[in-house]
């Protein structure tokens, strides 16, 4: 029965008509670049982009032997852990505050989203300016407060010193991550029924106790998702460090994403091998994400 068989196949293939464009777009933009990237990591490619031939595993060998490689990876770990942990911690407080009823709440919440809506690159440039050793507004204020004794001094050159530069850049990264995280936790708070609190108060729980015992456990899914989305964002974060220090001095403030972009200017092959390592790290994070969340229940509902 060829006709019936054809009909059956058509029915089976019908969804492909609806999903096809999406699959094609994902294929071209997300999946194929991964193939090209892995391929490039085994090729010798100069900064100009010309392929000089197969290079075996030399790119990886060179990368692992780079004196900065290990410190860049360690710095990336510290960068992600500190930024995400502090972001989630502050956001828990902010969400609790903005969850209360008060006059003008809509406007106040709107102000909260501004760093999220604005491009991270612009925010980074504002802070780069504000930290200018001679005339930056943060330094001028710190000078008035007596923290910075002399404008233009080494003390005022926050971005020139790797330690203080990293601290300020982490601050900016936290600042731009707060709105999404706070909103994610806020939407978690809105999902908690009021009677849960009433039951807790009947049981005699104080507000702090009911927060730790009732609110926080119920917020767990929201916190988990917000944390993992932040880990991905902060791991891949590029504009802040790029605009404020370019990863310098040397590579002393570079994370792996910045390092990969810097390498690309001189040696695309080696940069590709750094990309592959970054990519594998992201896959690990994604696997953790998929195994800890209940995405499948959501999809099957």
């Amino acid at each position: 029965m060829p006709a019936a068989l054809r009909r059956l196949n058509l029915v089976r293939l019908a969804p492909l008509l609806w999903l096809g464009p999406a699959i094609a777009l994902i294929g071209v933009v997300v999946l194929w670049p991964v193939v090209v990237m892995v391929q490039s990591s085994f090729q010798q490619i100069g900064g100009e982009g010309f392929v000089a031939g197969y290079n075996g595993t030399k790119n990886y060998a060179h990368l692992f032997n780079e004196p900065d490689f290990v410190s860049v990876l360690l710095r990336t770990l510290v960068w992600v852990v500190v930024v995400v942990a502090v972001t989630v911690f502050i956001s828990l407080g902010l969400a609790q505050l903005f969850h209360q009823q008060f006059p003008g709440r809509r406007v106040a919440r709107w102000a909260l989203i501004v760093p999220w809506a604005a491009s991270v690159m612009m925010t980074a440039l504002i802070f780069k300016w504000a930290l200018d050793p001679n005339v930056g507004v943060i330094n001028v204020i710190l000078h008035h407060l007596g923290v910075v004794k002399q404008l233009g001094s080494n003390r005022a050159d926050w971005l020139g010193n790797p330690t203080s530069a990293l601290a300020w850049m982490m601050g900016v990264a936290i600042f731009v991550s707060l709105p999404f995280t706070t909103y994610a936790i806020l939407s978690g708070l809105q999902g908690i029924p009021r009677d849960v609190y009433e039951a807790a108060s009947i049981d005699g729980a104080t507000s702090w106790k009911s927060y730790l015992g009732v609110t926080l456990p119920l917020l767990r899914p929201a916190i988990l998702v917000a944390t993992l989305i932040n880990v991905i964002n902060v791991f891949n974060s590029f504009p802040i460090i790029w605009e404020m220090t370019r990863g310098g001095p040397g590579y002393e403030t570079a994370t792996s994403t910045i390092y990969m972009v810097e390498l690309k200017q001189g040696d695309v092959g080696q940069s590709a091998s750094m990309s592959v390592i970054n990519f594998l790290l992201v896959i690990v994070i994604v696997l953790v994400y998929l195994s800890t969340t209940r995405w499948k229940e959501q999809v099957d509902q």
Binding site: A22, Q100, V135, S201, I229
Partner: protein, 293 residues
Amino acid sequence: MITTTKPAPRVAARAGTAPRARRPLRTWLVAGAAYLIAVIFLLPYLEMLVMAGRPNNELGRATIFPSHFTFSNFTTLWSGGGLGGSIGTSLQIAAGATVIVLLVALPAAYCTARHRFRGRTAFLLLVLTTQMFQPAAMLVGIQREFINFGLPPTLSLIIVNAGFNLAFAVWILNAFFSSIPVELEEASMVDGLGRVGALTRITLPLAAPGIVTALIFTFISAWNEFLVALTLSLGESPTQQPLTVAINNYIGQYSVDWGHLFAAGLVATVPVIILFAFIERRVVSGLTAGAVK
């Protein structure tokens, strides 16, 4: 899952022990703290305004505010640097990506919301996975692939931005379509609207909030995207570069034209901040939809 606009029940009710008379004071304290935080969040962007309005001969002065404000940085943006061209390029990229995302995500989201079929879960997993990957993770691959394609950078950036924002649109539209009862569509088909009529007159209008959210979100992220734009449009003339890249041209090797940089920055950020305010309440559900109930 879609965040409602209804004000959430007051958490203060949890205690029930707080005397009623103290409520106003508490409300004032909460409001005061919230306003203070709101101002802190706005401060960096207000500083951008102060800097854009600062006369150029006062750029070297260590003062918090300039002696007076000037509009000259805004008026000269258009003549020398050719910011208009960059705005046009950014508009093309953002609008192009938005149109593609809608055309591609609408059928996919509708199909996965209405039908159960083999491969549906695999498709949704694929979408969820792409949401977890950012262009930065595969930048070298994107760069080499699109250089091989030989497309103009603007077109390449439209496609890349569409691809990386597809997941958000599919999730939020899927949620909206799922929340519209099938019976509603069936009833209107029986009433003589037909399949297409039911879709265009019943389903799509009901999903409009989701469509608008997906549309604005894609537009803003494509407008703000920096890394791929920087990579693919590096050798272009400044007017062909998107705004985020072109703004960096005010940073010279020895000095930075901060006045123009922040004037251009305001032009780049103020519109998207206003747009974002429209989708603020729904955007979280699109970002976390895959995982949170």
